[in-house]
């Protein structure tokens, strides 16, 4: 142990601390007071150095952390700016700098302290001399040089010092003031620097906790980066709660789905994901339609781009009192909400569906009609159904008038009815033909229209089929070429024929239980009814062929007139016929044949049916009756073909006009069609990628398959259901190979053969 010549325990730096113990009582007093003053001041100055070093260290660490954090945000994917780097480098640098700075405390020696005191209170270097000798004694203690200075001389020096500065109390006061000034001077700049750095750092740490900060952090790529911008470690994202708020117009209740991974929601709904703990980073992606993927036009084989991805948008995540909240407005497409925290990512798949437009069916009038006069009232009736709720329904009428090249049209809505959410309604109305002021040739196009409560501006209305009501022109009934349609006689016989058919079918069912005579009686009754209908149809045919009504000039078979119809064994036959395809071709057939051929067929089938019924052969009659019914329906359809009469027939002699034109066209380049990549190919590639991933990263593979499943729900439900098994296997942590194989088989795309005669792929 080093011992001071002036006695007392030495300080850590070898300077005697007060109280000073001396071996010589004569050196007490002024000497010890001066030395104590120096020692105290020296300690004080050393503290200033240490504090300054600490401030500089902290300030440097904060400043470096600020720089690294900013860099980490600029390059979020950089591994060089990972969390340990951002944490450790500033701390290490701060400590290192603080240590370097603290080494300057060693420069605060007693001699420099004494010099500084004399600088503040000049005393002819008596104190310096005293301390120098003390220091010399200290340093030369081993050699015994300290004993060279006479204690009395030291006392004198001390006394001289105290005299020069005006006493011990005064010098202490002066030194104290000077030391305070020095401390302020030395600590002010580092403290300011440190405060600024700490403020910046605090701001950077706190700012990401706001929603905007998080959102901004997650928009750089489709896959949101983990929320590692802060130095604080956060827990991985865990369970959440999903709430679905359907749009108000739907009147559907709010749903709480718990910790769901998939949501089936109406488009326009708000899906809100709520979670606890630190906020999450998130992104929203509308899952793409794979059919839009195309091959590049000139790329050839390797140009299949499976990486097409719809744009990703940011998820708005806000902080709540007990965690975070991520709302999402549901689009009418599968959507993926990806939320990340603490290195973990979870997906919420939202399967958005549209509400359907109302389904409208017009019940009355049942069919198109031709009116002789536009008078009276017509009952209208339509059934309307909507999946969520109706807002309104009405009948829409377009009345067109005119002929040739001059037509006018007006649109009228009647029986407009408001609904408040009803799903199934019967819309009724009455069309007052008198008030419509319809003229000959006018056509009323009538349909029912309904809107649901969806407030979208471009929302489509549901519409029924259109019925047309035509007001006949008087001249129509005087013309051979223009046919009235449909003739009332045929309409009546249509209904009667159907009734007759039903009655015959019932009789056939009852036949085993009936007595022979009862059966014969009922069957003959039916045969008589059938004969009446047959004659009615025959009248219609003759009316058409002669252009005269049967009332004015009744025609019958064998009446001697040339109808263009021959009677062969009770049946009617007509020369010529329609084309085998049933399609009317211009110039081939007359309208008369076009209409009457099915009626003749009906007539003859009725004749066969009547004969069978006369013989009580109900089973044999039914096929003929069906033929007759079908023929009458065809006649109804055919009668509408020539409402406006036959166009003139133009026969072109192509050989004569071939390339006779004076002008010649130019050689032109046809644009190419874009390649269409089948969805199955894209899905196959994605399924394979997921299958490969399943071995190394099962959760990621599960997410991929889940996304694929949601995308396939619409057009490939079989494949989607096969993927359910894959997801379940992956979730359970088991081997999903078999499930992948099944999904792959459902997807198809492979052909298999047992022969390899040709070295290439053959046609499928």
């Amino acid at each position: 142990m080093t011992r001071l010549p002036l006695g007392g325990a030495p300080g850590a730096d070898g300077v005697p601390n007060a109280p000073v113990h001396t071996r010589d009582a004569s050196v007490r007093g002024a000497d010890s007071a001066a030395v104590a003053l120096v020692a105290q001041l020296r300690q004080r100055l050393r503290r200033v150095v240490y504090v300054r070093a600490a401030i500089i260290g902290v300030a440097t660490a904060c400043a470096l952390a600020v720089v690294l954090l900013l860099a980490a945000r600029q390059w979020p994917g950089s591994s060089a700016l990972s969390r340990p780097v951002v944490l450790l480098i500033p701390i290490a640098a701060g400590i290192a700098l603080a240590l370097v700075q603290s080494r300057r405390a060693g420069l605060v020696t007693p001699l420099r302290t004494a010099l500084w005191i004399e600088e503040q209170t000049p005393a002819g270097f008596s104190l310096v001399t005293l301390v120098e000798n003390t220091e010399s004694a200290e340093h030369d203690f081993a050699t015994g040089d300290a004993r060279r200075l006479d204690p009395r001389a030291r006392e004198r020096l001390a006394v001289a010092f105290l005299d020069a500065v005006g006493g011990s109390a005064r010098v202490e006061a002066q030194v104290d003031v000077a030391a305070r000034a020095l401390s302020r001077d030395r600590l002010r700049d580092p403290a300011a620097f440190g405060a600024i750095a700490m403020a910046l750092l605090t701001w950077l740490i706190l700012v990401p906790l706001t929603p905007a900060g998080i959102a901004g952090d997650s928009t750089r790529s489709g896959m949101p980066p983990d929320h590692t911008g802060t130095s604080a470690a956060v827990a991985p994202i865990g369970a959440w709660t999903v709430r679905v708020e359907p749009p108000a117009y739907s009147r559907l209740p709010m749903q709480q789905l718990g910790n769901a991974d998939e949501v089936h929601a109406l488009a326009g709904s708000r899906v809100i994901v709520l979670g606890a703990g630190a906020p999450v980073a998130g992104s929203v992606r509308v899952l793409g339609d794979a059919s839009s993927a195309v091959l590049s036009a000139g790329g050839g084989a390797a140009a299949v781009d499976l990486g097409l991805s719809p744009p990703t948008s940011r998820a708005v995540v806000s902080v709540t009192a007990d965690g975070w909240r991520a709302p999402l407005t549901v689009a009418p497409l599968p959507t993926e909400l990806r939320l990340s925290r603490g290195g973990a990512t979870r997906l919420l798949l939202v399967d958005g569906y549209r509400d359907s437009i109302p389904r409208v069916a017009l019940r009355l009038p049942e069919r198109d009609s031709v009116l002789r006069s536009a008078t009276g009232r017509l009952a209208l009736q339509a059934t309307i159904h909507d999946d969520l709720g109706l807002a309104s329904g009405s009948f829409e009428l377009i009345v067109s008038s005119g002929e040739g090249e001059r037509f006018t049209a007006r649109t009228v809505r009647i029986a407009t009815t408001r609904y408040t959410g009803a799903r199934d309604v019967m819309l009724r109305g009455v069309l007052d033909l008198d008030s419509m002021q319809l003229g000959p040739g006018d056509i009323v196009h009538l349909r029912a229209v309904a809107r649901d409560a969806n407030p979208a501006r471009d929302r489509e209305s549901g519409v029924s089929e259109t019925r047309s009501l035509r007001v006949a022109r008087p001249a129509e009934y005087d013309s051979v070429a223009v046919e009235p349609a449909p003739p009332p006689e045929v309409d009546k016989s249509l209904l009667s024929q159907r009734m007759l058919l039903m009655l015959t079918e019932k009789l056939e069912q009852r036949r085993p239980r009936l007595a022979r005579d009862v059966l014969q009686s009922e069957s003959r009754n039916l045969a008589r009814d059938q004969a009446r209908l047959r004659l009615a149809v025959g009248d219609a045919v003759f009316q058409r062929l002669s252009g005269e009504s049967s009332a004015e000039h009744a025609h019958t078979v064998g009446d001697g007139h040339d109808h263009g119809v021959e009677s062969v064994g009770g049946k009617l036959a007509m020369p010529g016929g329609v084309s085998a395809t049933g399609m009317l071709e211009e110039g081939d057939d007359s309208p008369v044949i076009g209409i009457n051929t099915p009626l003749l067929e009906a007539y003859n089938a009725m004749w066969d049916a009547g004969r069978a019924l006369e013989l009580s052969d109900t089973k044999g009659a039914i096929p003929h009756m069906r033929v007759a019914l079908a023929a009458i329906e065809r006649a109804r359809a055919a009668s509408r073909l020539y409402l406006r009469g036959m166009p003139p027939v133009v026969i072109l002699d192509l050989d004569k006009i071939r390339l006779a034109g004076k002008d010649t066209g130019a050689t032109n380049v046809r644009s190419m069609r874009a390649a269409v990549l089948p969805r199955s190919k894209v899905r196959e590639a994605r399924l394979l990628a997921a299958a490969s991933m399943a071995r190394t990263d099962a959760p990621a593979a599960r997410d991929s398959v889940a996304v694929l499943r949601v995308e396939s729900l619409g057009d490939a439900p079989g494949f989607a259901s096969a993927l359910v098994e894959v997801i379940e296997r992956l979730r359970a942590g088991g081997d999903a190979t078999e499930a992948f194989v099944r999904a792959r088989r459902v997807l198809g795309g492979m052909s298999r053969a047992n022969d390899a005669a040709w070295s290439r792929v053959g046609p499928p």
Partner: protein
């Protein structure tokens, strides 16, 4: 030599006057024979829109004056026809954008194929054979102030993967081309040449 000639088909729909331009088919056929070596059947056919028969005629002409309301079956068949690669050429015989045909058929087309959009006059349709620098040729009905008294600068179309699926004209070619082909000799300029472009486009694109 290919056995199968081109057949011009007119769509017959349940509502309206589908046969309002009976001379158009003959005139179009005449133009095809007059200016090209494309094999063509001398007479057109009329095919019901509600029947799958239309699938055998990948170019279909539809016109009329009256309101058009497709039945469910007609809409279903037409939708499938267009998806498979058919092309529907619709002409407004009223030449009236406020006319019943125009308004209703646009609505029906939107329901079946999507909304109509103006077809640029630089489209390859106008260069498919004859070159029409200024887009669709003007009709005499436009010049004479019939219908809406407008000269329509463009045709409208619905494109499927950049090919024309539905071509819609308010220029009233139904009236313009509805005359006997023999009368072409009285015209200084044959006004049916644009029909050749439509047919060549349909046959090659």
């Amino acid at each position: 030599m290919s056995r199968e000639p081109f057949v011009f088909a007119t769509a017959q729909y349940d509502s309206g006057d589908w046969d309002s331009a009976p001379m158009v088919p003959a005139n179009v056929i005449d133009a095809i024979a007059r200016y090209t070596s494309i094999p063509v059947r001398p007479q057109g056919v009329t095919v019901p829109l509600a029947s799958e028969v239309i699938f055998g005629y990948p170019l279909l002409f539809l016109t009329g004056h009256l309101p058009v309301r497709f039945t469910d079956k007609e809409a279903e068949v037409l939708r499938e026809y267009l998806r498979r690669g058919g092309m529907l050429f619709v002409d407004d015989h009223n030449h009236d954008v406020d006319g019943a045909f125009n308004k209703t058929v646009r609505e029906e087309i939107r329901r079946v194929a999507g909304a109509l959009a103006p077809l640029p006059n630089s489209h390859e349709l106008y260069r498919a054979y004859f070159v029409f620098e200024n887009g669709p040729p003007t009709t005499s009905h436009e010049m004479n102030g019939w219908g809406d008294n407008l000269v329509h600068e463009q045709l409208d179309a619905v494109l499927f993967e950049s090919r024309i699926a539905v071509l819609f004209s308010t220029k009233d070619y139904s009236s313009e081309w509805s005359y006997h082909p023999d009368n072409k000799r009285f015209l200084s300029v044959d006004n049916t040449k644009f029909a050749v472009n439509i047919v060549v486009y349909a046959l090659t694109r």
